[in-house]
Symmetry: C3
Subunit: 337 residues, 3 copies
Amino acid sequence: MAMEKTVEELARLLGAQAEGNLQHRLIDVAQLEAASLTDLSFVESERNSAEAFASRAGCLIAPAGVELPGKTVIRVQNPRYAMALAIEIFHPQPLLKPGIHATAQIGDNVLIGEDVSVAAFAVIENACRIGARTRIGASCTLGERSELGEDCLLHPRVTLYAGSQIGARVILHSGAVIGSDGFGYAREAGKYHKFPQIGWVELGDDVEIGANTTIDRGALGATRIARGTKIDNLVQVGHNVQIGANCAIASQAGISGSVVIGDNVVIAGQVGIGDHARIEDGVVLGGQCGILPHKIVKAGEPSGEPMWGTPARPLREHLKQQALLARLAKKHKDRES
Amino acid sequence: MAMEKTVEELARLLGAQAEGNLQHRLIDVAQLEAASLTDLSFVESERNSAEAFASRAGCLIAPAGVELPGKTVIRVQNPRYAMALAIEIFHPQPLLKPGIHATAQIGDNVLIGEDVSVAAFAVIENACRIGARTRIGASCTLGERSELGEDCLLHPRVTLYAGSQIGARVILHSGAVIGSDGFGYAREAGKYHKFPQIGWVELGDDVEIGANTTIDRGALGATRIARGTKIDNLVQVGHNVQIGANCAIASQAGISGSVVIGDNVVIAGQVGIGDHARIEDGVVLGGQCGILPHKIVKAGEPSGEPMWGTPARPLREHLKQQALLARLAKKHKDRES
Amino acid sequence: MAMEKTVEELARLLGAQAEGNLQHRLIDVAQLEAASLTDLSFVESERNSAEAFASRAGCLIAPAGVELPGKTVIRVQNPRYAMALAIEIFHPQPLLKPGIHATAQIGDNVLIGEDVSVAAFAVIENACRIGARTRIGASCTLGERSELGEDCLLHPRVTLYAGSQIGARVILHSGAVIGSDGFGYAREAGKYHKFPQIGWVELGDDVEIGANTTIDRGALGATRIARGTKIDNLVQVGHNVQIGANCAIASQAGISGSVVIGDNVVIAGQVGIGDHARIEDGVVLGGQCGILPHKIVKAGEPSGEPMWGTPARPLREHLKQQALLARLAKKHKDRES
């Protein structure tokens, strides 16, 4: 499946300069430690230059300034990005034969674009619309009136509840559930009475949603995730949450109902955000930190640091408090003994 | 799909008094900020009265005492509950045509009640019983001897392991797994030997289970969740857990094996409860808090507050400790500089 | 389904000595509190001897030294392990009829071993290999070139992405996703560009993976879990993680990309491990604790204790710090009042 390129050809495709043996032939990509002479690999920064030097890779993508004497190198500004492009060259995505599998169940008034593929045991309910070249994996279920843009990829076993609105080039991983009911009840006479969840979910273009992640529909109105935002596995997004563009949300983060998140926010693993909190543009939330309900978190307070701990505070402050506590506990113990 | 009602008709259906333009016609429901003249909306308390006053909604459900001069208002004691009832009026659940899809696989000795619907690619194994009017979504799998009461709703892609006992009016969201093996092993000669998990799961009437939530069967005997308890997405319930009636358990909470939880307990998101802990009636556990194994948590200690932190302590105590620590760290820093 | 054994027969099968009424007939197993006269039950240690004494079980498996006067007892070194073996005797796993269901979709060049069973609506893509006696549940999807060893059990609705390499006797629970894309992007011009995830997942022999757990493929190269390791429900394992043999990882733990975990490690529920951390052989991580990225955690520092808190520290140290803080806060309050 992989294809052969000379270093020179590859550099040209990446719009970059190469040094060393420009006619060397590459046939695949690999990590530094696993690479062989016909593999391309990459160096992100000075920090892994020793590892890079020891690598048997036939060519290295590297930033300016990292010295790699005797190596064949393609110099770029953003090695990670250049490597991503190179992997796409060596491993082009296999083209799925378009077509609707004989077992798939397609409802009434479904609009299906050109070159769409629908795999075995998929269920597409009435009045859905599917954009050109979108691929729907085995055993996916699209509820009534769901819409998918062009060039989407749904891995096997994705559920869209009725009325989901999905943009173009969206990737949904296996087990993802889009549009499940929010956790909304009215307590009356000692019992929970279901507050009907009649809203929907909107995902912008280029959104990616991880395996077994759940995104609840709005109670009334929409839960929205704007273009370019990437969400990892096992994340929970509650009803009526609004997430901006180009955010990254790592695994097992939990975002409660009606939270508003700006653009370019980074949320680490297992972070918990209480309902109605507002996270402003560019905030970074560190692993496992907790944001209280209704809290507003601004970026750059005091200095662009990530937030840490529960309730979350700037990382340096958090570490200082932890260190002081450790010191006091030690002193106290010494005094006792 | 929505139907038209005058304010007067709606107030009568809700058993409430209306003020203002009683003949005004409503055709849908909406959030305060998105509502138009033909929409009903609601006000929960004084706190959102400004927002309510600015809303273009044609009618507001509101509690007594919230002044909304010039507005058409339906006065109720529990606005959230009245709004839930109103949504049910404007958006009656679509009736699924009863019937068993031609592709569904039904085992031997399966008892199916009246007006049951079974969607495409569902698998119902031998000796299952399904109560009247229960709806089973696409690609659900019901293991042998599973029983579902009347009027249940299984969204697509729910798994019941063999022997699951489900009450009436239970809602199971997409990706939920009921009856998976508990995490039980005997360590022998440096290896984990599986402790066979031969119990089952019992869910009481009116239970709701969120998307991708997992509820393990008992090792021996049952894992039980009593009537009216609502569980959010991505929650883990371990083997032999016993949960009382009318509890609410938010997303990503984790409940270890053999934990016992009373009635009317509220558990916030990402709470972790260690094995064999006992959470008594009416306890409130705050987000991300951790309960140690074998711990007993009583309600109202000292004053009905939620518990917070790991190990969990009353909220006020937790906040006081955090504040003191921050103050000490600041003082220490000032002294140093 | 259960079968009858005398105490004497059972003791012989377990290679153990019995005391009391050796001819007493047992027909099933049960928990101490639920057992009746024809049930076998077990006592793990002195700690539950009172409960054992009160039990109506017809026979008890117990370790030496636990006095149970008047009871019929089978004496063993490892009661939990002996009980596991006894349950296997009374509840042998039902044999699935081998065979491929008529609805299953099998691709080209698939190698299927002897006595394999494939349930309804399973999809097995091109060039997969399935070992003898392996059972594949309803609605499972095996991506191209996946390999499963002998005697595996895939419960319904498991997804293997292309190229997954699974050993022998592996158990995968419902909703598990093996080989989903890791969370890898290159940030360029303010947007996330997908870093293609072209690696794969390898699971060793005797691995068990819980319901709705997600295990990402390597970005380049493999994510590996060695033989005998058991993983609970809703766990996240990131790309290129390496996990050793005979580990136990409890529910909702999250393991970030490129983490390396040794053998015999125990990880409690909701633990979070930052990327590139290294957890050495035999470490125990307590519930909810957090390990910072790139951190190295050694066993037995200082004394084989579990680690606790975020950032994680030895349990005793953590508890001491928490206690000191509580004391200081109390003193401070007393002074104020």
